[in-house]
């Protein structure tokens, strides 16, 4: 029942907001619907935590500890982003960057996007998972180009074409997966159900699965933003409205990686070799290094943090690639803390650039003087994302690096160097933004700062103390992924 509730709430929200999303109160409605989704997700989580993995609706949905934690995270960030976007979009309207029709488009697409994310997470069918991922691209294309500026249109076009092409490769991979499973399970609907595939994964034909995984890696990897398929990511993040950047970075990338990892489990079972892990480690490491070195060249605040997302997704992919209980645990933890921290950073950056009237970092100065909460939020968020203790990012990065040292010592110098370069680049750019001479102006609506500090507080808590049920939960998920 709960999975359906989790999915129907955003669908209903999309319909409601598609009709009334242009009203001034729509931001509140958006947040309220997101809250309902969050409650449904929480109920679902409680149920799964209590009774273990569940199948629902003719095996159409499958919830285990791996995806339920992502469902909870997605619903949570979806809710806080909705809270943030209420004043943010009103300010944008006040500045004349969007009109009422586009506000309605924004609200309806936002809920549709949440729906596609949750569908991709909850479905048991690998084909539906693909459909949902593609639909997520479609739901966000018009959001990225919401401002209709040449730059935003270009970013959206790039996003549309690159992700479309990428995701087409994933469809080919899915077809191959079905091809392999059909040999074992026979034709029909069950041959694409993950639970059925998981049960027979050791019998799947290895040569087909190898090819399938390569295509899936390229396909979903494009959406994860793995180098060299990442070029859409900074553009889409920088040119879209900030709430969209926050959900793209905090949720979409996670969900794409989730899709990849689900398929990796099957490929691993069939292959019995390190091939998939090595591929993911390679792409992950490459992303970490290239993204870290691109950071210092950025001038646009949102591009900077978009590249930081590429770096962190690379790190998570690397950790999943290493495999084993510790690394997978760390990867899951890092997914959580990165998503919370990065969305918090986008919230503050969004407001900061609204105040400055530009996203160029050279023009954003002295945030601590004009608006101390935004200033400190940015500073703390940046420190958190850079892996400073006691934030949660430190804990997960520490786990990843120590595992890498033990099992793949050759990779550690690259990782450490990349993290060092990233630190220098981001800190060097954020510091004057926070403490420099002020240039700000007053905002017509008070910004929503609560989500920022709520996220950062959660990350802080995760850094010093992981509640036992959460740790248990991660361990179960880690055991599932292997």
């Amino acid at each position: 029942m709960y999975p359906l509730l989790v999915l129907l709430t955003p669908i209903a929200g999309a319909v409601i907001l598609g009709l009334w999303g242009h009203r001034a109160s729509a931001g509140g409605v958006n947040a309220a619907i997101s809250l309902l989704t969050l409650i449904a997700a929480a109920l679902l989580t409680a149920q799964v935590v209590e009774y273990g993995p569940m199948l629902a609706f003719d095996e159409l949905f499958f919830v285990d500890s791996f995806n339920v934690f992502l469902v909870a995270l997605t619903a949570l960030v979806g809710f806080t982003t909705a809270l943030f976007s209420r004043p943010y979009m009103l300010i944008e309207m006040h500045h004349g960057r969007i009109n009422a029709r586009r506000l309605r488009l924004y609200h309806a697409s936002y809920q549709l996007f949440m729906f596609t994310m949750l569908l991709a997470l909850l479905t048991n069918n690998l084909g539906i998972m693909w459909v949902a991922m593609e639909a997520a691209t479609l739901a966000t294309v018009l959001l990225v180009s919401l401002y209709r500026t040449p730059a935003s249109l270009e970013a959206a076009w790039k996003y549309f074409i690159l992700c479309g092409v990428g995701i087409a490769q994933a469809l080919f991979g899915t077809v191959l997966m079905y091809f392999a499973s059909e040999q074992v399970l026979g034709a029909g609907g069950t041959a694409l159900l993950w639970t059925h595939l998981d049960a027979v994964k050791s019998q799947l034909e290895p040569s087909v699965l190898t090819l399938a995984f390569v295509f899936l890696l390229v396909g979903y990897g494009t959406k994860v933003g793995l180098v060299p398929l990442h070029s859409w990511l900074p553009d889409a993040h920088a040119e879209g409205p900030t709430p969209v950047s926050a959900v793209l970075s905090g949720l979409l990338l996670n969900v794409a990686l989730y899709a990849l990892v689900r398929n990796k489990v099957l490929a691993d079972g069939a292959l019995g070799s390190d091939l998939t892990g090595n591929l993911m480690m390679g792409f992950g490491l490459l992303s970490v290094v290239i993204a870290a070195f691109s950071l210092s060249r950025q001038q646009d605040a949102k591009r900077l943090f978009a590249y930081s997302s590429v770096e962190h997704m690379g790190l998570i992919t690397f950790a999943f690639g290493m495999g084993g209980p510790v690394a997978t645990f760390a990867a899951l933890l890092h997914m959580t803390v990165h998503s919370l921290t990065k969305s918090a950073i986008f919230f503050v950056v969004g407001h900061a650039s609204q105040k400055a009237g530009t996203q160029m970092m050279d023009s954003i100065r002295g945030l601590v003087d004009t608006n101390p909460t935004i200033g400190w939020g940015l500073m703390l968020g940046s420190l958190a994302i850079l892996g400073m203790p006691p934030f949660g990012v430190f804990a997960s990065e520490f786990l990843i690096i120590t595992t890498a040292m033990r099992e793949h010592p050759w990779a550690t110098p690259f990782l450490l160097a990349a993290l060092g370069v990233a630190f220098a680049a981001v800190f060097g750019k954020v510091q004057p933004m926070v403490f420099g001479e002020t240039t700000g102006r007053r905002l017509p609506h008070p910004p929503a700062i609560l989500p920022v500090f709520a996220h950062l507080a959660l990350v802080l808590v995760l850094g010093v103390y992981i509640p036992p049920y959460l740790a248990q939960w991660y361990r179960q998920a880690a055991a599932l992924i292997g």
Binding site: N125, G127, I128, W130, V131, E134, A135, L138, V141, L142, S145, R148, T149, P150, A151, L153, E154, A155, A156, W157, K158, F160, I161, G164, V165, A168, L171, F172, V175, L176, Y178, F179, E182, Q183, A187, G188, G189, A191, L192, E205, S207, V208, L211, D235, E239, S294, R297, Q299
Partner: protein
């Protein structure tokens, strides 16, 4: 119909698909591209019907019907309306060096076959080569998207790529489960609509549908 006859027919359809993919690669006119796309859809629908008939999989008849409605009628119709509205019906693209493009295309075909070779013998349904042809036409559409500088042909390339994937699904397996196929079809349809809206925005902002004009977002 004998088994070998149907195999030959499927091979023939596969080659036709490949031929159309090559023709698209070399076609300069937007209008002819749309016609070629519709033909590709028709070949796909025929092929799906044939596979449905041979393997006695009833859901494939539905997917053939879906292909016919979506790819032979609906999408070409949308594209026709689009190029009418955008007034690019008679657009001719300047493609440089078609022979080289085609030569790379031939190489792609060989790559496609080589990649698919180790696994195609597992296919229970049809002949060995069709998976390779499906992959090759996906790669060719990809190539077409790379060589095009205009928005409409790029999207036709994207749709043609989806055709190749669909062919892979029907030729390597008994077709994907119907619910997945419906979902994919919905995505393609919505994607085309969004693209249609998008081209108008593009033209409003840039006064051109030339992708070269909108490559400003480079690394600074």
């Amino acid at each position: 119909m004998s088994a070998s006859m149907s195999t030959q027919l499927i091979n023939l359809f596969a080659s036709l698909l490949l031929l159309i993919a090559f023709a698209m690669l070399a076609q300069r006119r937007v209008l002819s591209l749309i016609h070629l796309f519709a033909w590709q859809g028709a070949v796909l629908a025929l092929n799906t019907t044939l596979v449905a008939f041979v393997t006695d999989q009833h859901h494939l008849y539905y997917s053939a019907l879906l292909t016919l409605v979506l790819k032979v009628i609906l999408l070409p119709w949308i594209l026709h309306r689009l190029i009418d509205k955008l007034n690019v019906r008679w657009d001719v693209e300047t493609l440089v060096n078609i022979p080289t493009t085609m030569l790379i295309g031939v190489v792609l075909v060989i790559i496609g076959f080589n990649v698919a070779m180790p696994i195609s013998h597992l296919s229970a349904t049809v002949t060995r080569g069709t998976l390779g042809i499906a992959l090759a036409s996906v790669l060719l559409s990809f190539m077409m998207m790379i060589t095009r500088r205009k928005a409409v042909p790029q999207v036709i390339g994207f749709l043609a790529m989806e055709n190749g994937l669909f062919f892979a699904a029907t030729s390597a397996t008994y077709g994907m489960p119907l619910v997945v196929e419906l979902g994919v079809a919905l995505d393609v349809l919505v994607g085309t609509f969004i693209f249609g809206i998008f081209t108008f925005h593009l033209r409003e902002a840039f006064d051109s549908l030339d992708i070269e004009h909108i490559e400003k977002l480079k690394e600074r």
